[in-house]
Symmetry: C2
Subunit: 392 residues, 2 copies
Amino acid sequence: MHAVSASFFQSADASSMPGADSDSMLNELSQEDNLGQQESGHVTLSHIARACQLSVSTVSIVLSGAPLSRHVAEKTRKRIQTTARRLGYHPDAYARSLRSRRTQTIGVIAYDMSDPFCIPVVSGIDEGLQPAQYFSLLVNAQTQRKLFDKYLRMILERRAEGVIVVASWVFEETDLLADIEKNHVPIVIVGRDLTERRITSVLVDNRAGGALMMRHLASLGHRNIAVIRGPEELFDSAPRWAGIRQAATEAGIRFDSRLVSQLPNLSNPKSGFEGGRKFVAEILATGRKFTAVLAFDDLTALGVVRGLVEAGLSVPEDCSVVGFDDILPADVATPGITTIRQPLHEMGLLATELMLHALKQGQGEGAQEAGLRMVQPELVVRTSSAAPGGGK
Amino acid sequence: MHAVSASFFQSADASSMPGADSDSMLNELSQEDNLGQQESGHVTLSHIARACQLSVSTVSIVLSGAPLSRHVAEKTRKRIQTTARRLGYHPDAYARSLRSRRTQTIGVIAYDMSDPFCIPVVSGIDEGLQPAQYFSLLVNAQTQRKLFDKYLRMILERRAEGVIVVASWVFEETDLLADIEKNHVPIVIVGRDLTERRITSVLVDNRAGGALMMRHLASLGHRNIAVIRGPEELFDSAPRWAGIRQAATEAGIRFDSRLVSQLPNLSNPKSGFEGGRKFVAEILATGRKFTAVLAFDDLTALGVVRGLVEAGLSVPEDCSVVGFDDILPADVATPGITTIRQPLHEMGLLATELMLHALKQGQGEGAQEAGLRMVQPELVVRTSSAAPGGGK
DNA sequence: AACTTGATTTCAAACGTTTGAATAGATTAT
DNA sequence: ATAATCTATTCAAACGTTTGAAATCAAGTT
C-alpha cells in the first residue's frame, strides 16, 4: 500500500521538471516513503523542508508570508516556493487554524435552499465575505428541525467564528442557541426580527411592502380586492397584512372578509402555489366579485394565475395579480408577475457586514448591540396587473 | 506568560470540586475567566477534565465514545457527560481531524447556484452523505474561473476527502486538478463526461432525452417544428440535438434549417430566456410556418412562450412548446411547460455513492476505474404541448 | 506471599502548523 | 578588542484532540 503511493510519487517527481535551482528532483518524497511509515497522502511542510534541506520553521515562515520572511534570503525563498509548487503543497487548514485560532469561517444556515428566496441572500453573503478573506460554511436545513440542530452542532464543531441564519422560519427553541452563546459565537439572522433575543436581525420592511402592493392596485382603480395572507407561523405574514390594511384605509377601500383568506402552515415551498390555486377556485365558486388578488408571495401569485386560467379567465384582463419577493419564476412566467422586490442580495451583504463588524469589535468586549436593520422593498410592475375591466 | 498560565492551572485545580459528582454549578468557567488570559472562548476537554478532576484522556475517551470507554466506570461516564453538556462543550473538529486524519468532508463545487439545475443535485448529494456521516463543503463558483480556482484551493486546504463538481461547464484546464491528484483526492463530476480524463462522471442521457422530446411532438402530429439548440460551449448541446435528429428521422420528419438556431454562449442563467424570446420573434418575422418549438432547456422554453404571447399567439393552441430539465419555473408557469425531466436529485445521490465507494476502496489502492454513469430522463407532459391546429 | 487478572484511569507522543525566543555568523560602531 | 546590530536560520512549545502503551489499585488465584 505504501509502496504503491511511493512509486506514484517517484514517477510524478521524475516527470515534472528537468532542471532547477539545486536539489536533485528524484528523491525527496520517495526517500521518506522508504523510511517513513504513516503517510497521510498529503504534502506537508516537513516534506518541503527535507527536500530543501531546511527547517520546517523557515519553510513555514516563507510560505505563510509571516513578517519574519523579510529576513529570509531571496534565494532560499525562491527555492522553497518552487519546491512547494512542484510538490503540490497546500497548507493544512486544520493544523493552521488549530494553532492560529482563526478559522476564517462563517457558518451559514439556509432554512431551505430549494426556496428561491435563499439563493440571492446566500450569494450576497458570499460576496460580502470575499474581500474579508472569509469563507462561508453553507448548510441546508430543509426546514427540518433535526437537520438544523445537526448542522448547527457541526458549525460549532468546525469552529465557525460567527453564524448567519437565513430564515423566515421557526427555530428558536433550540438549546444549541445557548451553546452558541456559551462559546461566544456571534449570530446574525436574515428574514426575521429576533432582536428581543438580542440577535442582530436583517429584514425587509414587510409593512411598507404590503402598503406598496395595495397602493399599486388602488392607483390602477381596483376596489374589489381579494387577499391571501401568509401562514400563521411565518413572521412576515402579520406586518405585510398590516401594511395592506393601512394602505387600503388610506385609499378608502374596505375588504370583504369573505375575500380574505390565509395560507395554511407550509410544508414545502411549492405549497404556496397550491394554496393560491385552491383559494381562487373557492372564491370563484362563491360568485363574489373581485378584480384583483393580492398574494402573499410570488409562488402563491403564480398559483392564483393558474387557478384563474383554469377557470377560463385571463390575467390581467379579467383579474390582476400581485405577488411578493421577486423570485425568478415571477420574472420568466407569462404574464410576468407584478411584485414587490425584496433586495435579497443586499440583505445578505448587509448581514455579512454586520457580522464582520461584530467580529472586529467583539474581540474587545462581549455584549454588543443587537441591532435591527430594515431594508426597503420596491414595486416591480410587470404585466399581471392592469386597470380593472379589460385591456390595459 | 508561562508563569501566568501555570498559576492559572493551579488555581483552577484547587478550586474546582467541593463535593463528589455533584459539583457546584457556579464556579468553573467563571473563576477561570477571572484569572484566565488567552482563552480561546471555546470550551475544551481540559476544561471538563479540570471540572471533573480527571485526566483529559479519560474525558476524551468517554466523549468520543472510543472503544476504551467500555472500561470507564458508569458513574464517571455520567459525570463527564453532564459536565460537558452543562458547559456547552463541542469537540473541536480541527484538533480532532488533525489527529485522526479524517475530516468527514466532501467538497462540492457548484458551477452556479442561481441555476435551478444545481439545487436538486446538491440536495441529492447531501442526502447521500448523511447516512455516511459525511458533510458537504459547498461552494458556488458562479461560472467564474477565478472563483473556481479559489474555492478548489480552499477545499484542498480544508482537506476534503473527495471533491464532487456539479458542472455542465468548462473548467478543465486548471492545474489545480493536478494538485488534486498529487494529493490523492478522488473526484466525481456531475453533468459532464470527463472519463477521458479518468474522472468518474454522472450525467443524464441527453441523446435519449432529445429523442423523447421529438417523439412526443411527433406523436401529437406535429411536422413543422422549430428547434433552439444549446450553446456551443455546453456539453449537453450536441447529444441532445443528435437525439432530436435521430427521432425525427425515425418519424420521417425533416427540419427546415431556417427554423433551427443555436443559443449564444450564455453569460447568466437567464440568457436562455432572452434567447428563446428573440428566436421566436425572428422566425415569426420570416413568416415560416411551424406548429411547435423544441427548446434547449426550460428557461429557453419560457422565453419562447413569452415571445409567442407577445406576438399575439397562444400556447398550446397556436404553437406547442417543449423544454428540458424540469426546473421549478416550468412547473408553476401557466401553461405548465411540457419538459424532459432530469433526475437531478438521483444524480446527486449517485455521485455521492460513487464517491463513497471510491473512498472506501481507495484506501487500498490508487487508480480506480473512472466509470461513466448515465441516468435516464423522463417525459413530463404539461399543458404547453397539444396536437397542432387549435384546441387539444 | 508472590502472581495473575481485570477494571479503571493516566502518560505521552503525535497530527501539521505558527511564533516568540534563541542561535550562529557576519558586520559595524564604540 | 568588545560590544552592539544585522542577517539568516532554527528551537521548542503550543493549539485540542486521539490512542497505544503503561500505571494504579483491588480482588482472586496459585
